[in-house]
Assembly symmetry: C2
DNA sequence: TTACATCTTGTTATATTATAACAATCTAAA
DNA sequence: TTTAGATTGTTATAATATAACAAGATGTAA
């Protein structure tokens, strides 16, 4: 029941909700998650939001801010919690996490006009996915 | 009453709401905007959201997705509507629009692993602003 | 000018997303 | 085994956003 690393130990609710998001082919919204886990005893929005907050915090999932939806992290789990990039299809709403060493290096080293650096960022690209482009 | 370019002509509600946001030193939330324009006859959330939608569409304002708040565009107005970058202070919540030719060039030319390019994106950097860093 | 299409408005109601507050329970480590 | 801290369950409510529809304004073309 326990994993080796404490930082990855999920509580029951967290595990249930993570499993659901992880299996979903698309980002899930909080109340859709709630609906799906009610049969497992999670009945209230707060129970969902608390688990989501924690999962985001430890990097197991990410929030797609422009969609108010959540997806599981597949970039060697939890390392990318503070530096995320996604592509979002404006037609089918497919979301893909971008893992590009070049991009993350560029952004982590970016200095604004005051010379300030930022190790934490969220980038959302919008366009058409391959499938929708063809149509 | 009319400006030279039709695409910049604002309706009464749009103008009232844009002026308010433009004067604000910080991003404004929809219901705070509503509260502030009620004395000018804008009484319902939908009137605010409709104006906001239009102002975002034509690039006069931007939405800070992670904060559900809106700020006026100061990058030669409306040209940056589809390619936005901001720095956000995690303590005082100060938000600054980043206008960096290098950054926008890099992101506009970024290709994902499928070779796909995206002309539209939103980037939010998080950190501490100068003032909050000192404290 | 008139008539039409389109856009914008005003309004009520409601949907969706998220948090406050607090008592009870569980868990990990001393 | 006790105690501090995290997590849970629960009710209520706050904050953000859209649906639906009637009425009014505006541009344009005959």
């Amino acid at each position: 029941m326990k994993t080796v690393h404490k930082e990855h130990t999920l509580t029951k609710n967290q595990q249930i909700i993570f499993d659901l998001i992880d299996k979903s082919p698309e980002p899930m919204k909080a109340y859709s998650i709630l609906f799906n886990v009610q049969k497992k005893g999670i009945k209230a929005p707060l129970q969902v939001y608390r688990a989501l907050d924690k999962l985001v915090e430890i990097g197991k999932i990410h929030k797609i801010e422009s969609r108010n939806a959540f997806i599981a992290c597949h970039n060697s789990s939890c390392q990318m919690a503070n530096a995320t990039a996604f592509s979002i299809c404006e037609i089918c709403e497919k979301v893909t996490e971008i893992s590009s060493a070049g991009l993350s290096k560029y952004l982590a080293n970016f200095k604004d006009k005051d010379g300030m650096k930022y190790s934490k960022y969220n980038l959302e690209f919008f366009g058409l996915c391959k499938k929708c482009k063809v149509k």
